[in-house]
Every structure is written in structure tokens, then in C-alpha cells.
Amino acid sequence: MKKVLVIVLAALLTLGIVAAQAVEFKEAPMLAEKVAAGELPPVEERLPKAEDVYVMTELKNHQPLEIGKYGGVLTKAVTKVGNWEICRSSTLERPVDFDTNGTPFNNVLKSLESNEDMTEWTMHLREGMKWSDGEPFTADDITFWFYMLHKNNYDGLAYWAPLFQVIDGKEVWADVEKIDDYTVKWTFAQPQFRSNFVDTGDLKWFWAPKHFWEDKVPSSYYMENPIWPDTGLSDEEVMAKFMEIGMELDSVKACGKSGYYFWNHPQMPTISAYITMNEKSDPLVKLVRNPYYWKVDAEGNQLPYIDEIDFLIVNNSDQAILMLESNDSDVDYIVANIKDVIAIEDAMGDGVERHELTSTYWGDGQLYFNLTDKNLEMRDLVNNKNFRIAMSVAVDREQVVNLWYDGLTEPANAAPEYPNFGYNEEWSLRYTQYDPEYAKKLLTEECGLVMGNDGWFHFPGSGDKVSLSVVCSKTDAATAEKYAVLKQYWDAIGIEMNLNQADNYNTICDSNEGWDAAWGDQEISGYKIESRPKQFIPLNLAATWYSFYDTRGSAYNPEFFDLEGDLLKLYNVYQEWLQIPELTDRDEKELEMMQILIDNTWFLAFSTTPSEYYMVRTGLGNWPETMLNEDKFNFQMQFGFNTIYFK
């Protein structure tokens, strides 16, 4: 029944196409003026052919889409850190997208299907869909991206995991071929489930505008492929090409992405609702309406409604708050934390609306132990579940939430939080009852530790004091302050914990040297395990488990530990989970994995996670009432720049 419902929902989201055939398309007045002036073709010619136009009828949380009004400039004040990527990711259009339950629906792709053994995936594009400069969006943009930009690592990240498989410890890439202008076929060496392919959420795009890139790929990056010939261009020629469009580079290495997701070039055509107009260092980043955007509302109005999105860059969040509160300012919304929300509402009254972006973290202030600790006594201790329980019950969480968040959050342990999948109050509150005497009893009777005359526990064998080195990131001052609150409880039961605020946090963790527990950085989150499995499962890519449980073959890491006990069980359930083709059929196994995680208390948390809040000036329509702060759902995008409007 559930599956049927999902299919119906997906159909509703994607196949409102029929309606599109009957409606006359309309456009923003600013575009109509350009059409009248002969600067743009008519809206019908800019959109895909009628049956391929994407008709939006509801938001991602299934709230019905109101028919909006055109016009206006929406301004957000954002802090400088990471602003540019956030500005651009806010308008990302993915092959398939997800509703707030995690159900996938076709987005850029019109449809996709596989052969029986799932080694071939055929994807259909929207006929007549165009890039923001009016050039057609076709199969060539996919094959060119794959062979000329991605597989050769020219885009700076040869790691689009859903596009290769690890077979006998080696990465085996898929191949892609063009069937016709609007159809491509991916071929894998082994069956590739949809859930490991387009539904992972990691496949954020697999295209780039060929017409923009074809004179910007140097020979030095050419990799033999069945479709595209070598451009014959030198590195210098390519850099000169970029200079022509205002990009100053010092090598062709910088021609790709800025390290990870997003292309460096605001000049590159896009298929998003808005075109980025500025570079990352600019104090005002403007996103202007894409006249060729391929989505419309139920009445045939081409989206987006708002003419322009402006990101005003500020140095810190307090400035953003002051600007929102100021009557003189242009700022329409900001993202604020729970403490600021109350102050903003006091200052602005009815002039502001609060929209919650609920967390998907498994609790706040996560602490996890190094299960592969090189100190064998310490390894035995942290692998003892009773030790972890003792560390949990030693903490007075009621006091913690008051000190950390003025009592605005709830005491909790590491578990799925409401309203995420798997939420269970019993899980959330397990081992949260403050009982230092019980903690001491566990340490003595179940862990075999010996209380010394100095008031600290000692190992029975070596006689050494039990002293855990807890590593955390040095840049995170707030985390260190929160840790100081916890330390007093562990001191009180006789367990010494020393915080190492390290600049090279990741290096220390990866080296497996000098840390017994890690605190508050690589936090476990996800609306489901499938969102970020490696955080939950002992994979050697996973931050939490670090590099020492070798589950991808020893080629990746010469030093590894075998999985045993419940860790092995968890891993095996994960393997079974991977073998279930449909994402929606995986819930049972997902719960089984969660149960193992909760039962073992491998990591602790101390409070529910405070939500983030969008504080929005009153008067904006189509802002969803519920949102999840989930990467897979493209968290920033859940309110949809393409659909909000000024009432």
C-alpha cells in the first residue's frame, strides 16, 4: 500500500504534465518586455515542449503551491563563510529530487528506467529544455561532462560515487552513451540499484554546458573515450579563454570546481531558476531570473515568481539580525538560532514570521569513542558497553540543557529526533537518567576499574590512571565551551577527560594516534541512515569510524581492524540493506540497524539539537510550514526560491 502511495505521490509531483498541455504559458512582466523588444523569444519557445514542461503543484512537504505574483527582489543577509556555495546550492536542480519524506521524484530527468538486471539505466531528458543562455540542454551535455570534465578529474573531483562501482577493490566506472538528443544510457559492470544510483542524493548533477566548455578543456586533461576527441588546446590557451570571460586563473587546475561541489564560474550557463551574477568575493551576490527556466505553476505561469535574489554578505550573524530588524534595511530574511529568535520576535512583533528548519542530527554534543584505540587497555575499556553507559548516566542532562541552551532544548541521548524516521522516545531517553553512583558502580563492577587514593579510576593491569584524550576541532570555540560543562560530571565520578583542541583534527583522527574519544565535530545526522550511511556504519570512509575498519578492501588502508560482534552484525545488516533495490522497501532493515546502534551506545549525545529558524519579514508566500535540515533534501532549497513570492 505504501509503495502505491509513493508512486501516486511521485506521479502527482512529476506528471502534472497533462495539465500543461491545456494551459497557455505566461511569463514575468520583465521578460514580456524583453520579448516585445525582440531580445528574447516568446515564452513557449523558451520552455520545453508542452508535455515536457515541469508543472509544480505542491511544495516538497506536499503543501499545495499557491499561485504567486511576479516581481520583487528578495534579500538575505548571510555571513561570509561559505556564502557563495550556499548562494549557488540554493538553486540547485538535481536529476531526481526528494520530498521531505525522502521519496524521490523526477526533476531534471523526465523519466528513467533500467533493464532487468539493472546494469543499464536509460534516462530521458525534457525535450526543448534550455540552458540559461538559450542553448538546448541535450544528451551531449551529459556525455561531454562525464568524459571531458568528470572522469578525467578536470572538474576537481573524480568521486561521484554513484557513477562507479568497487569491484575487487578497484573502482570500475560506468559508461554513458547518447541514444538520441534527449536520451542517454548508463552501463554498469554489475547491477546498480536505483537506490545506490540516482536516489542516493549524492548524484547532484551529471551534466555541464558543452557549448560553454568545448573550447575550455586542455589536452593535458584529455582521457581516451568513445565519444569526444581531444580539443588540442594547450593549458595556456584554455586559461586565455577563461580570461576572455573575466576569470583570472593561475593554472588549468583552477578551471574546475572550487574543490568540491560548485563550479567557480558565475559565467557558466545554468538550468537553475536563477543565474548567479557575481564572484564569490563580492559583497553582494545577485541571482537573477533565468528566462529559460523549465518549470511552471498549475496556471502555466513560468517560474520563478521573484525577479531577483540578493545575498548581502556580512561578517557575523549579529549584523544580519540588526539589518533584518532595521526598517531602513533591504534584508527580507535571515537564518537564526533559537536564542536569537526570541529577541528578533520581541523586536519585530508581527513584522516577522518564524519558519523552523528541524534538525536531523542524532542529538547535540555528540561524543564518540575510538573503538580502535592503539592503547589496548583503553581500547578494551571504550569497547565495553558498560563504560559508555557509565559515561552517559554520569551527566546531568537537565542541567546541561539549561547551561547550553537556556533550557530551550530537551535532555536526550544519541538517537533519531522527532520528527525523523525511527524516532522513538525510549531510544531518545535511554541512559539519560542522571545517576553518578550507578556510573561508579558500573565502572567498578562491570569495567573492572579501580578507584585510586587520588580520587581517579585506574586500570587494574597497568595501574595507570584512566585518562581519555578527547579531540575536537580548534576552530570550534563554542564546542569547547560546551565540553567544559560536561567535564565536571566525569571528573566527579573519577574519569579524567582532557580536551585536545586541535587544528589538525581530521589528521589526528585519521592517524588513530593520540585520541581516545572525539567530540562534537563529525556529527551523526540524517533523516535516515540511507542519507549518510557511512556515518552510521563502520565503513572506512566514515568519519565516526575513521579509517580502521576496512570494509572496502585493504588497498584503501593498509592498517585495519576486523569487525567483530555487533559491529560486524551492523555491517552485515547494512550489506543486506544494500541488496534491496527499492529505497522505500529498506525501512525494516533501517530500523534493525538503528536498533543495533542504540543498543550499543557507541556514541553519546546530551541534548536534542536546536533547530535553525528562517526569520522572514511578513508577507512572503509559499514558504513551507515544515522543513528538515537535511542535506539530501538540499536543505536550503526546501522553501524553493523558485516558488516563493511577495504577497
Binding site: 576537481g156 573524480a158 568540491y260 559583497p283 549584523q319 540588526l322 581530521n506 570512509l541
Partner: protein
Amino acid sequence: MNDEKTKETGGFFEGIASFFRRDLVSYIIKRILAIFPSLLLISFVIFVVIQLPPGDYVSAYIAKLTGQGEQMPPEVIEQLRADFDLDKPFMLQYWSWIKGIIWTPSNTTWYRLYGSHHNWKYSFSEGKPVWTVIREYLPLTVGLTLAVMIFQYLVSIPLAVYSATHQYSLGDYLLSFIGFIGAAVPGFILAIICMILAYKWTGNPLVGLFSKEMLENGVHWGNIGEFLKRLIIPFIVLGLGGTCGTIRSIRAQMLDEISQPYTLTARAKGVSETKIIWKYCFRAAINPTVTGLGTSLSHLFSGSTVSAMVLNIMIMGPVLYDALLSQDMYLAGAIVMVQAFLVEVGILLADIGLAFLDPRIRFSGGSR
């Protein structure tokens, strides 16, 4: 009358000529030549210091991504490190950096593309050549710095002289009080107070030098009023500390000079009070202030980083801060180099100014 004027003009030129006496000229030449080796030394120290914290740009970048919930496999991290040449030994990195700055030959891609013999390398975080980044921020930084300095001296000098000539008067006490407060309150606290007061009184916290409209269309006649309004807080915050310090210093020096025997002699000979104060006492009293000119240029350039961040003014200080935070070593190195150069030039100018103000100062041994 005309003869007198000619005599005065001739005297002026003679004064200039005698000012640039041989020992001063050779001193200036020596100092200019000394700038280059000292900058070279500074560059090495800068490069060492910037690289001192563990990790590098890539590890800082990975930490940022991790904070956003992203993870990268080790092989990709190593590739990134190699892309940025961060896998090379320290000395090789330094040599490649400094060599490019001193001279990049004509047969390099850099020269052919950018037409410059000085390659300051690439800013990882900004995604463009370092010199392009510096060029973007330098005009506003230098413009604001000089404007604040001029404001500082225009305000402090008359007040200091007034305070000294009216010692223990109400005005003197008031100025002393303001001076102590100004010197004691950190700029960033003052910035926050000013912004809150601006918000309470006008409904606009005046965050940043430029409104959104100015960022879009630049400063023009239509918005010059708004722009000047936005200058008030930065001028107060960036200039107040220096202004108060200068008032205190000149006042103390002036009080010393006013009680000197030469002042009494001048008075006894009937020289006017204005001439005594401004031509003799003030000229002598200003020496320490002029000496401090060199370093104050650098101080304003980056010393007010926290205030500039609080006020959201994108001048060089906050850019340096961001560069250090993200371990963008070439950008941070270049900014500190520019500052070091400014300090050198500032000290040289201060020395020349000092010689101009006080002919007793010599730059070489022996008698003339």
C-alpha cells in the same frame, strides 16, 4: 615690499635645499636600499609564521566541509593538496613564492596572460590571483586609512594645543576625560555601542560602509548623503583611539615646551603668543607624533581588524583574518608583505618629516 617677498621666496627655496642636505639625501638612499633586504627577510619570517599552525589550506577546507556534513576520501584530499602544490617541501614552496614575486620571466604563462613580471601566486579561498584580490581591497583600505588619519590629526592637534594652553581649565579636564575614555575603550566595543545607538535613534544600524544600493550602483550624488552618514561610525571607531592618544601626547609635549626658557625669552622679546605656540612650541612638541606616523599607518591598516569586522567594512584587515583562518598562505603572506612595505615607507617618511620639522636632527655623524 616686493623685495621682501622675493627674499622670503628665495629663503624658502634655500630652506628646501638646505633641508635636503647631503647627509639626509644619502640617508634616504640608504634607507630605500635597505627596504629590499629587510622585506626579503620579513617575507621569510612571514612564510614561516603562516605555515606554523598544523595543517594547510586543504585541511582547513576539509574541516569546513566536514562541518557542513560532507566527507572526502583521502585520495581526493591528497589530489587537492598536490593541485595546490602543498605537498612540496617548505623551502621549495617559499622559493617558488618569493622568486615569482621578485621576477617572473617573459617566457612564462603568467607573464603572457597577465603582462606582469611579479607573480604573487593564487588565492585558494578567493579563487583568483593574490594581487587581484589585493587590488580589490587596497583602494578602499588606503582611502579609508588616510581619511581617518587626516581626521585624527585635524581633530587632535587643535584640541591638544587648546588643552595645553588652557591647562586645568574645564575644557582641559573634559578633553582629558574624553581622551582617557577613548584610549581605554576597545574599538570593537565602541563599534557595537555606536551601531546600537544608531539603530535606536535612527532605526538603521548603519552596518557597512555601503548600502545595498551603493553596492549595486556605486556612490553617486544621489546617495552621497547616505554614504557620509555611514562614514560617521567608522571615523569615530577607527579614529577615536588614535585621536585620544595624539591629544595626550601632544598636550604633554606642549606643556614641556611652554615652560622651556626659549619660550620665556620669546615672550620677553615681545613675540606674539600665537607665533610662540604654533611656530616654536608646537613644532617641537609634534616630534614624537611624527615619529609614530610610520607605524600608525600600518596599525590603521590592520590593527582595527576586529572593529572593521564588527562594522562590516571589507578592508584589508578582515581579509587577512579570513586568509589566516583558512590558511590561504599566499594571500595572507602578500597582505602582510604589503603592510611591511607600508611600515618601511611610513618610517622613512616619518624620519624625513622629523628632519624637516627639527633641523637639529642629523642622520650622519660629525659636524657640518
